[in-house]
């Protein structure tokens, strides 16, 4: 049976597809977007986040670690990553939740139990489950099994993807996914590479192929001021989408609520000064893209 690593299960998700949904966040992403608000989703394996403000300085984490990976420096626990095998004992021992293990190994069957908990809400609202990330296509066997199990249980599925995977994977997943939420960040490849760390040709090509075989695709575009919010960039995306015969496009305003997480993960946040786009600007983009003949929604 396939297992995978997830970092969150969000129930009552109401912006990731139709109805009341449960969103499962799979861990690991090949992209490294500057604006990513879930930086803990990027690394494929588990990791430990330290919440300084929660720490009681009780020393239980250091006391319990058999690898000597937790030491105290300046009355503060520090994890020596070279010694740490991510066994999680410090995190399970920590009374206050200061040492938090991000990422959980889970089998498809176990995860299904969690998903099925909200079946009554899915049935009532026409909702279902959304697999997001990270990049869910990075765990294709796990995702494929989950989609099949959902189909068996008649639970509607959506896959929220960057599209950065092999066509074989996209193709395989498309067999059982009811809906794709497919991200496009930028049409200009040079800047795409700069801001996401990867080329966009794979993403574009996959979308072209996918559009031919799957009839339920919603394009999602993050609007990040100073990076892709110019009218030219937005129009380029809109015009491309039109050529594929796709009508639905969601524009998602950038927000900086993930900033604190970067600090806790000891990562650099590259755009600390960037502010969310104004409502007016989002309205303008909506109108401009709408005039192309697309159905534009602000938010998911």
């Amino acid at each position: 049976m396939a297992t995978g690593i997830i970092y969150n299960v969000q129930r009552y998700s109401i912006h990731d597809g139709p109805g009341i949904r449960t969103t499962v966040f799979l861990k690991g992403c090949p992209l490294d977007c500057w604006w990513c608000h879930n930086p803990e989703s990027q690394k494929p394996g588990q990791e430990i986040i330290f919440w300084e403000e929660r720490c009681l300085r009780c020393g239980d984490c250091a006391g319990t670690c058999k690898k000597g990976a937790v030491v105290f420096r300046n009355n503060m626990p520090v994890i020596l990553t070279e010694n740490c095998d991510l066994c999680g004992s410090c995190s399970s021992k920590c009374p206050s939740g200061a040492q938090e293990m991000v990422g959980r190994k889970v089998s498809a069957a176990e995860l299904m139990k969690e998903i099925e908990k909200d079946t009554i809400f899915f049935d009532e609202s026409g909702g279902g489950v959304t697999f997001s990330g990270g990049e869910p296509l990075m765990q294709p066997d796990f995702l494929d099994e989950l989609l099949k199990r959902c189909k068996e249980k008649q639970i509607n599925t959506a896959v929220d993807t960057s599209g950065y995977a092999s066509w074989e994977t996209v193709n395989r997943i498309s067999e059982n996914a009811d809906l794709f939420l497919y991200d496009i960040k930028l049409m200009d490849n040079i800047r795409h590479k700069k801001y996401t760390g990867v080329d966009n040709d794979i993403i574009i090509n996959n979308l072209k192929l996918l559009a031919r075989k799957h009839n339920n695709i919603v394009i999602r575009v993050p609007v990040v001021p100073g990076i892709n919010d110019s009218s030219d960039d937005m129009l380029a995306i809109g015009e491309f989408v039109l050529t594929l015969g796709i009508k639905s496009l969601n524009i998602l305003p950038y927000h900086n609520t993930g900033m604190d997480k970067y600090r806790r993960l000891h990562l650099e946040y590259k755009i600390p000064e960037t502010k969310p786009p104004s409502q007016e600007r989002m309205g303008e983009i909506k109108d401009r893209l709408g005039s192309l003949g697309l159905n534009i929604k602000i938010g998911g």
Binding site: I14, I20, P95, S96, K117, D118, F121, S125
Partner: protein, 786 residues
């Protein structure tokens, strides 16, 4: 809303509540004249008559529906026969920071010279405390339970449709008939019946006279009135008041006015715990509305204006001043008239009609605290109705609250009501289920469930008072299994419920003997037929409730004990009790473990939720089915009003990590802030309780406004409600407001004068809540949009 309504509404909002001594004086005069000379029911009836014949008649400028409980709006009377306030009480009522009433020196003087000398030692409150055992009193003052009837009369009943089909002249004929059928030769209760029925006749005449006095006043005002339009209105008011409630109403206007006189009659006769209410108002008004709009004698706007005038009348009547524990368990001006909207018809079909939507519109426009309102949602009702209600809820006032009417019917049927009577029922007060017009469903007091655990953990001792209030169930450190602990907890619960009910039975008898309500008895079936008073078992159904408080807190406390002490052996019982006794000072690590590393109710986690179910079952088995003194049974409700704050204040630290004195969880909602998986998980957890075995449960959720944005937000909220009700959930309500807004309102109350929030089974102005309650609401988990 039009200019008239806006003006009346504003007046109602701007008027400062005052305490009126008029009723106390009139009641005292009547007792001085009649007490000891006539039977008790007749004494009560003559007192009612004296009130109706002499209380000030008030017709406010511009209003269409007339009559006030006090001499003018926001003037609350007192009920010295129930609770005779001391002068210190009056000073407190006058000067307190929240829920104050202006008390003039004149009032204090009358209280001192006339009221206190007559009533001291004779009021029900005095009699009650005199009659209660020391054991009962010790538990009462330790905060194990509260007592609803210590300064208010048995309340909780609601009007059904008969008052729109019959006038008091018709009721008089029914009473006469019952009188003439008394079997004086064989019935040992013949005399009691005769006196009760005589009393009812006096009350029927009295209410007719009261209405007629309004007609006279209106005519007087009409003669003086210069404005021809208002003159005509006053003449119309006179015509209406001389017709109803003597006769059955003929029109929409008369229907509203008839109800209002009856309302005033009920709440003037006695100060019932929850004021009376019209129940299924949309269904009652619809036949009048339909007929008149079809005939062209009434427009929708006119009908709406009349209802809005009617709305203001409720808001003009603050709940009479409370003191002591009663104030702490119900600290609000709200008098809990809770109008039911929607639901089903007596034949079981969809009850939503044009008036339903009109009432929803009015709630959204009026934005006032009273009357409270709720929507009764049946699987038979259209989604349009639920969505319209959600639109009002989204405005953020916490009403109308939302009830599962199909569950309500099942609850009533389980209790033994006929299906027709069940369908005519609904919910009142906060969330309490009743067969409208046919049932006395008396809430007798709150029960502090987490306190029972505290006492169990101290082998029968109450750490707060240092008294041995419980029984010895053993040193918990010697318990080898969780089940042993839980058995001890059940034994303590049994002990305290026994004490509570022993007291209740005496109190019930005091009311039956000394404080009958012959006016109310006229309109509740089958008091006339039986010749028996509402307070003595005259109603067709007689139910007593004890309301359990602290579901989340007790569940999380037991779950933490089971998890850490018995299942994982992380903490020793002795260590835990020491930590609790020290309010976790020096034991922060243990507290963090209890908070962060134990299963919590509200997360759809069976470990915790099964404990909730076991506590619920224990409480249900302890209370449900016991006999009351009126031939009915005891049942349970799960709600707190503001009692979770008071009960929290008498409990030390709890094993869920809560510190001493902090509020308990509210209703059946999870402990504030521990529900981490969103509203569907909370709903799933709450639905594991068997709601159908209760007479009401209370679940509140807090959402940020963004969650409900747009048409989609409304639809999803509708789905959430429908799903909860599919699982037999009884009630759900939402605060649609962000914690940031609440914090700002706490810091700058002057800028948030009109901010209304859901407290428990009712809404209140945020500024009227004490700091502890404000903090508790802020601490509730805020569900955001994802």
């Amino acid at each position: 809303m039009n200019e008239r309504v806006a003006k009346l509404r504003q007046q109602s909002l701007d008027t400062i509540p005052t305490l009126s001594i008029e009723r106390a004086e009139l009641v005292t005069e009547a007792y001085e004249k009649y007490a000891g000379k006539v039977s008790v029911p007749v004494l009560r009836a003559l007192t009612f008559k004296h009130l109706m014949e002499n209380k000030t008649i008030c017709i406010n400028d511009g209003e269409l529906i007339v009559g006030e409980r006090g001499p003018y709006p926001q003037a609350a009377p007192t009920y010295p026969e129930l609770c005779c306030h001391s002068l210190e009480d009056l000073d407190i009522i006058d000067g307190r920071d929240k829920i104050a009433f202006k008390v003039s020196d004149e009032v204090k003087k009358i209280q001192q010279e006339k009221i206190i000398p007559y009533w001291r030692g004779k009021s029900i409150r005095d009699m009650l405390f005199d009659q209660m055992s020391d054991e009962w009193k010790e538990c009462y003052f330790a905060g194990i339970y509260t007592e609803f009837m210590e300064q208010r009369a048995p309340g909780h009943t609601v009007a059904d449709g008969k008052i729109y089909r019959k006038g008091f002249l018709d009721f008089k004929r029914d009473i006469q008939q019952s009188l003439s059928s008394i079997d004086y030769l064989n019935d040992p209760e013949a005399y009691d019946k005769q006196e009760e029925l005589k009393a009812m006749l006096i009350c029927a005449d009295a209410i007719i006279r009261y209405a007629e006095r309004h007609a006279e006043k209106a005519r007087e005002l009409a003669e003086l009135e210069k404005d021809p339009k208002r003159k005509k209105e006053l003449e119309k008011i006179a015509e209406v008041c001389s017709y109803v409630p003597a006769n059955a109403p003929r029109s929409f206007w008369e229907a509203l006015q008839a109800y209002w006189f009856i309302h005033l009659g009920v709440i003037t006769e006695l100060n019932t715990w929850d004021s009376f209410n019209p129940g299924k108002l949309d269904q009652h008004l619809y036949p009048f509305y339909k007929k008149e709009t079809e005939e062209g004698t009434l427009t929708r706007d006119e009908a709406k204006e009349l209802v809005q005038c009617f709305w203001v009348k409720f808001n003009n009547q603050p709940a009479p001043p409370k003191v002591g524990v009663t104030l702490q368990e119900s600290g609000t001006y709200t008098d809990f008239a809770n109008i039911n909207i929607g639901g089903i018809m007596p034949d079981g079909t969809d009850g939503v009609n044009d008036v339903t939507y009109m009432l929803l519109e009015i709630i959204g426009e009026m934005k006032i605290l009273q009357p409270s309102t709720n929507v009764q949602v049946s699987r038979k009702n259209p989604d349009k109705f639920v969505k319209k209600a959600c639109e009002i809820i989204r405005m953020g006032m916490g009403f109308p609250s939302v009830f599962n009417t199909d569950a309500v019917v099942e609850e009533l049927i389980r209790q033994g009501k006929s299906i027709e009577d069940a369908r005519c029922g609904g919910t009142s007060g906060c969330v309490e289920t009743g067969a409208f017009g046919k049932e006395a469903y008396i809430l007798t007091g709150y029960f502090n469930i987490p306190k029972i655990l505290e006492i169990t953990l101290h082998n029968g001792m109450d750490p707060a008072t240092g008294k041995k209030l419980g029984i010895e169930t053993g040193d918990p450190c010697t318990f080898e299994t969780y089940d042993e602990l839980f058995d001890a907890f059940k034994k303590q619960m049994h002990h305290f419920i026994d004490i509570k009910i022993r007291g209740n039975n005496i109190i019930e008898t005091l009311y039956a003997k000394y404080m009958p309500a012959p006016f109310l008895s006229i309109i509740i079936d089958d008091c006339i037929k039986k010749g028996k008073d509402y307070n003595a078992g005259g109603a067709r159904y007689n139910t007593n409730y004890i309301q359990g408080v602290g579901t989340g807190s007790i569940t999380d406390s037991l779950a933490a004990i089971k998890y850490h002490i018995y299942d994982n052996k992380n903490i020793a019982m002795a260590e835990l009790i020491e930590a609790l006794d020290n309010n976790f000072e020096g034991y922060e690590k243990i507290r963090q473990l209890l908070i962060n590393k134990a299963p919590k109710y509200g997360n759809d986690d069976d470990y915790a939720d099964s404990i909730m179910v076991s506590v619920f079952d224990a409480y249900f088995n302890e209370v449900d089915g016991r006999n009351n003194m009126k031939g009915g049974k005891y049942r349970i409700d799960m709600l707190p009003t503001t009692c979770h704050i008071y009960f929290g204040s008498v409990i030390g630290a709890l094993p869920d990590g809560r510190k001493a004195g902090e509020p308990l969880s509210e209703g059946i909602s999870p402990v504030q802030g521990v529900d981490k998986y969103g509203p569907t998980a909370v709903i799933k957890s709450a639905a594991k309780m068997d709601h159908l075995k209760t007479g009401g449960t209370l679940l509140n959720q807090k959402f940020t406004p963004q969650v409900m944005e747009g048409e989609e937000g409304l639809e999803k909220l509708t789905h959430l409600i429908r799903a909860y009700f599919k699982m037999d959930g009884h009630h759900i309500q939402f605060n649609v407001i962000s914690a940031d807004t609440l914090r700002a309102a706490q810091a700058n109350p002057e800028k948030y004068q009109n901010l209304i929030v859901r407290v428990a089974g009712y809404s209140d102005y945020f500024r009227n809540l004490n700091k502890k309650l404000q903090d508790e609401i802020i601490a509730r988990t805020e569900h955001m949009a994802f």
